[in-house]
């Protein structure tokens, strides 16, 4: 299986890249883990690929103002193994370790994954739970928006034509925060049938600052606010966790495919919400 022909450019600055991406036929190429298989099956045929790999500055992870700023071209394996991410935002590192397989994690990038917005991708669960923000550059523009505003629908984002994700911003977590990502893998592809990320704090025996992110269930990842509300301030008993998790799929149009029906996905979302919260609670101090 062979892609159709295209023009290729590998600019060394963001400005050049944005200039090239102004062409409506052009598409940005990061790790290629989503785009190249589609091109090989001839389900995608961009006229030009703008390879971002030479652009300096998109590969860094730095800590700044209580946040981690992760360049769009940072790979899943770099996130998984980065001492900074592992200590300051372990949920993201844990989630990265669940993506695809070793080789896919070596090539795939966080920016590429977010821009592709596959409903079964792992990152959205963690990024929603972390209230991540995304920095987006366009020709002569730059904006930072919450992930919630970026994702629109399955494989659709609010990126304007010619815009590029340059950075993902996640908060530095206190060591006392408990986090966990729990997923059921689609056995063939390794994608999430359903994945749930939870982060929470515990003080005086009460749960606080709960954030739950869900992927795989609906057309896009989302934050399960109702679950958070129900859980906030509780002691985190098994009954309370189950009761909160029971509403995770409310109002979500659940996906259905060969691997899981909508009913089953809704059920799994509850199960994995319980498991993620329990695991996060066990890790919180």
């Amino acid at each position: 299986m062979i892609p159709q022909n295209f023009d290729y450019a590998a600019p060394s600055t963001i400005e050049e890249a944005l200039e090239l991406l102004a062409d409506p036929e052009a598409k940005a190429l990061a790790g290629g883990m989503s785009l190249i298989p589609l091109m090989k099956l001839r389900l995608a045929a961009p006229g030009r690929l703008v390879d971002l790999r030479r652009i300096a500055g998109l590969r860094e992870i730095r800590q700044d103002d209580g946040a981690l700023r992760i360049g769009a071209l940072v790979t899943h394996s770099e996130i998984e193994s980065s001492p900074l991410v592992r200590s300051r935002c372990p949920l993201l590192a844990e989630t990265a370790s669940h993506i695809g397989d070793l080789q896919v994690r070596n090539a795939g990038t966080i920016g590429g994954s977010i821009a592709h917005n596959d409903p079964a991708a792992d990152y959205p669960a963690a990024l929603f739970a972390l209230e991540a923000k995304v920095k987006v550059a366009g020709k002569g523009t730059e904006r930072t928006l919450p992930l919630e505003e970026l994702v629109v629908d399955a494989m659709v984002t609010a990126l304007e034509p010619g815009e590029l994700i340059t950075e993902v911003i996640v908060p530095v977590e206190a060591a006392s925060t408990g986090t966990s990502y729990q997923k059921m893998r689609q056995p063939a592809s390794g994608f999430a049938i359903v994945g749930v990320a939870a982060r929470l704090e515990k003080s005086n025996g009460r749960i606080g600052s709960v954030r739950v992110g869900v992927t795989g269930l609906g057309p896009s990842g989302f934050r399960a606010r109702r679950v958070e509300e129900l859980l906030d301030g509780t002691a985190g008993s098994d009954g309370e966790i189950r009761e909160a998790a029971a509403v995770v799929a409310e109002g979500v149009e659940a996906n259905a495919d060969l691997h899981a029906s909508a009913d089953y996905r809704r059920h799994l979302a509850q199960v994995f919400t319980v498991r993620a919260i329990r695991a996060a609670l066990a890790r919180a101090s």
Binding site: N5, L41, R42, A188, S189, L258, S261, Y264, H267, V271
Partner: protein, 777 residues
């Protein structure tokens, strides 16, 4: 002339590392896509996107005009090529004419419609997009039971009932057995369609030599000689001008035990354009157009006394054939029928096979070929019977095995089981697993509300295929063993190993027979230009039939060696031992290398002897061999998600005498992984329109390293009397034994809910639904 003889230690029975591996671990082996030839062109095939459609028009001019394109061919051009052969014959078999390219209709998604030949594979792919085909879609049917319903779309309009064949067998008196039974259990059991998924897809390189008027066909196949005969017929050339070469083959599992349209098509193209041409199947094509396996819906009834004695079996086997018969399609379910009674003593069998056409790619042999289906059914039925009678599944099996003194054991399906001690592997597996302790653990788990299951399967196989009367193209095998002038040994086998490791196990046999080092034996295979005619590698036959031919060739050779040795030692009383001829009177000896040198130099010949040291044997087996074994799977089902965890997997297999334990372990592990794939993960899914939903590895779950458990493997060794090596075969054992063990285990786990049967694959959602509904399907 040396006077001492070094008696080397026998190498048969030792787990020596493989002779094949150095080329494979260094990336220097040559698979078919690795072949390059000057002037080679590349073919790409346009395939039908419809399961059933009339072809109204094909427009190829834009593709033909595309820069770099050499030629475009359609079914109109290839009317004289083929048909694609089916070698199996059954009374009343309906065999649709199977052309290499579709002409007026397409019958399944992936049906080849046109071929582009171009300067490189990228251009060929581009040009495919430029071919316009106007189809008129027709109603399609993908489900074999729906295809049998009145009014179902006719796959082949000339046969509106979609019946490809029916076949019946009566053994003993099943009606009487059922009339006398205290209990009858009945179950519909599905053995789903599977995609073999050899890691190397198929591929062909055809090279016409206009000067020599010969064609060389490199193909990733399990049967080079049969392919030569059949492709020669398909393209209308004399067989002795066609040479089939099997390079390194990246797995077959039955999917390359075939002759496909592409082999003849590429041969024809190469002759037509006068250039070498290569076609390498993509994975998508492999899923759409290479045979699938299984595809059974079976209705079983088992009759028994209330003490658990099984009296008889009734079986209706519905085989989804797909749209055509490939090489052995109709023969596969006949193996199921033969194996239907499993390894139990009862002889009353009434069985029927209904072969059904569907708008799907044909089914054919996939690892186990008919025997996994049969074993799965009988092993499920025995568990159902045990549950009905509230007996332990081990106890009921032990009660129904024929004893070791009852062999050869004549079955109700006309087989004669060669040798066996069926209780031995079961008892050994129970001991390894700690069966009693597991049952205790299960009681505790159930009290905690956990779903812990213990599943047993005791299986038999029909292996070493087989006597020629049982195979459409002959079931013998050939071997030539030559001692070269230097004393090095070359073995040419008619089998065609492709991963099983017979370059090593055959060399072990020869090294022991001729007293030479393993490194001094080279085994060649898979080239009809240099190997005498042979049958190939399938049906767990390579060692048991091909190895036996080698064994006998070695005996012939030893007779010759002794003639030469006697001459050189000037004695009429010599023995051949440890790689030398020894005079029994004087103790003087002459090593093989010196004998070989003398035999080729031929200055003097022993009385009646010819120069050279070569022996060729074509060996015809008198019977199949019948390996057997017992597998125990311990599983736990997650009540919340329905996911199955394999907690223990014990496999005790009896494949007769073991030549190389390392290779046997590898076959068992790999076989179990494929059986487990069927039990838990794999299914070729066609939707109601005949679209293949599992069209890529993204959706068809071949087990990964994390999905396969550690296998605790052990053996009993009951030699086969059928061949002098005492070997039975092991290539399919793991697959046959595994799926019923796993399914029995999961059914056992969920039995507190009243679950009696679950069809494969046991997906988490299927199990979750059962649990959620309290066991009601």
């Amino acid at each position: 002339m040396a006077t001492t003889v070094t008696k080397t230690e026998p190498i048969v029975g030792k787990g020596v590392r493989r002779k094949e591996d150095p080329r494979l671990i260094t990336g220097t082996a040559t698979y078919v896509d690795d072949i390059e030839m000057p002037g080679m062109r590349y073919a790409a095939i346009l395939r039908s996107p419809h399961a059933a459609a009339k072809i109204l028009r094909i427009e190829t001019s834009a593709a033909a005009a595309h820069p770099g394109v050499v030629a475009v061919f359609t079914g109109d051009d290839t009317r004289d090529v083929g048909p694609v052969p089916c070698a199996a014959s059954l009374p009343g078999l309906r065999a649709p004419e199977h052309k290499v390219l579709a002409t007026d209709r397409v019958y399944y998604v992936g049906h080849p419609v046109a071929v582009v030949v171009a300067a490189d594979r990228y251009v060929a792919q581009d040009a495919l997009d430029l071919i316009e085909v106007e189809y008129e879609p027709q109603p399609a049917v993908a489900d074999p039971e729906k295809a049998l319903e009145p009014g179902a779309p006719a796959v082949h309009p000339e046969w509106p009932d979609n019946r490809a064949f029916t076949y019946q067998h009566e053994g003993g008196d099943a009606a009487k057995a059922f009339a006398e039974a205290d209990v009858v259990v009945k179950q519909r059991i599905v053995s789903q369609r599977l995609i073999p998924t050899a890691m190397e897809t198929r591929g062909v390189v055809a090279a016409w030599d206009a000067g020599m008027r010969t064609l060389t066909l490199h193909s990733s196949t399990q049967i080079p000689h049969l392919m030569r005969s059949l492709v020669a017929a398909m393209v209308g050339m004399p067989e002795n001008r066609l040479r089939v070469v099997t390079p390194e083959v990246g797995g077959g599992f039955g999917s390359k035990l075939n002759v496909y349209a592409e082999e003849a098509l590429l041969a024809w193209i190469s002759m037509r354009i006068g250039k070498p041409v290569k076609w390498i199947e993509s994975r998508r094509e492999n899923y759409q157009a290479t045979i699938h396996g299984r595809g059974h819906v079976d209705y079983y009834e088992l009759a028994a006394r209330k003490d658990g004695t099984i009296l008889g079996l009734k079986a209706k086997i519905i085989q989804d054939c797909g749209a055509y018969h490939q090489l052995l399609t109709p023969a596969i379910p006949t193996l199921s029928l033969l194996m239907a009674p499993g390894i139990y003593r009862f002889r009353n069998v009434s069985a029927e096979i209904i072969g059904v056409f569907t708008n799907c790619v044909p089914t054919d042999a996939y690892r186990g070929a008919g025997r996994p289906e049969a074993t799965h059914c009988i092993e499920r039925m025995v568990d159902l019977l045990a549950a009905e009678l509230k007996m332990d599944p081990a106890e009921i099996r032990l009660k129904n095995f024929p004893g070791p003194d009852e062999f050869p054991f004549e079955t109700g399906t006309g087989l004669s089981y060669d040798s066996g001690d069926y209780a031995a592997p079961l008892k050994k597996a129970m001991e390894i697993a700690g069966y009693e302790g597991l049952r205790e653990e299960q009681r505790r788990a159930r009290n905690e509300g956990r779903f812990l299951g213990i599943g047993i399967s005791t299986y038999g196989e029909i292996c070493a295929l087989g006597p020629s009367s049982a195979l459409p193209a002959g079931g013998w095998e050939s071997a030539t063993v030559r001692v070269e002038p230097s004393g090095k040994v070359t073995v040419a086998t008619g089998t065609s190993p492709h991963g099983q490791g017979e370059e090593t196990s055959f060399a072990q046999i020869v090294a022991d027979e001729l007293g030479v080092d393993l490194d001094d034996v080279e085994v060649i295979h898979g080239d009809t230009g240099i190997v005498q005619y042979g049958i190939g590698t399938f049906g767990s036959r390579t060692l048991a039939v091909g190895g036996t031919a080698i064994h006998y060739a070695c005996q012939d050779l030893k007779t010759k060696i002794k003639q030469w040795g006697a001459m050189l030692l000037e004695s009429d009383d010599v023995r051949f031992e440890g790689g030398a001829c020894v005079c029994n009177k004087t103790g003087k000896s002459v090593p093989l290398a010196e004998i070989a040198a003398a035999a080729y130099r031929a200055l003097k010949l022993p009385p009646g002897a010819e120069p050279g040291l070569v022996a060729t044997r074509f060996w015809e087996p008198s019977n199949f061999t019948f390996p057997f074994g017992a597998h125990i799977a311990v599983t736990e089902v997650d009540p919340e998600t329905g996911q199955v965890e394999i907690k223990r997997y014990v496999a005790v297999d009896d494949c007769g005498r073991i030549i190389n334990p390392l290779l046997v372990a590898g076959q068992i592990h790999g076989g179990v992984a494929q059986g487990l794939g069927q039990a838990l993960y794999e299914e070729a899914v066609y939707d109601e329109n005949g679209q293949l939903v599992t069209g890529e590895l993204m959706d068809y779950a071949v087990p990964k390293a994390t999905m396969v458990p550690h296998i605790e493997s052990s053996h009993t060794e009951t030699p086969s009397p059928v061949n002098p090596l005492g070997v039975k075969g092991v290539g399919e054992a793991g697959t046959i034994g595994c799926s019923p063990a796993v399914v029995n285990s999961v059914v056992d786990a969920l039995s507190p809910l009243g679950v009696k049967h679950i069809d494969m694959p046991l997906t988490p959602e299927k199990l979750w639904r059962l649990i959620a509904k309290g066991g009601q399907a």
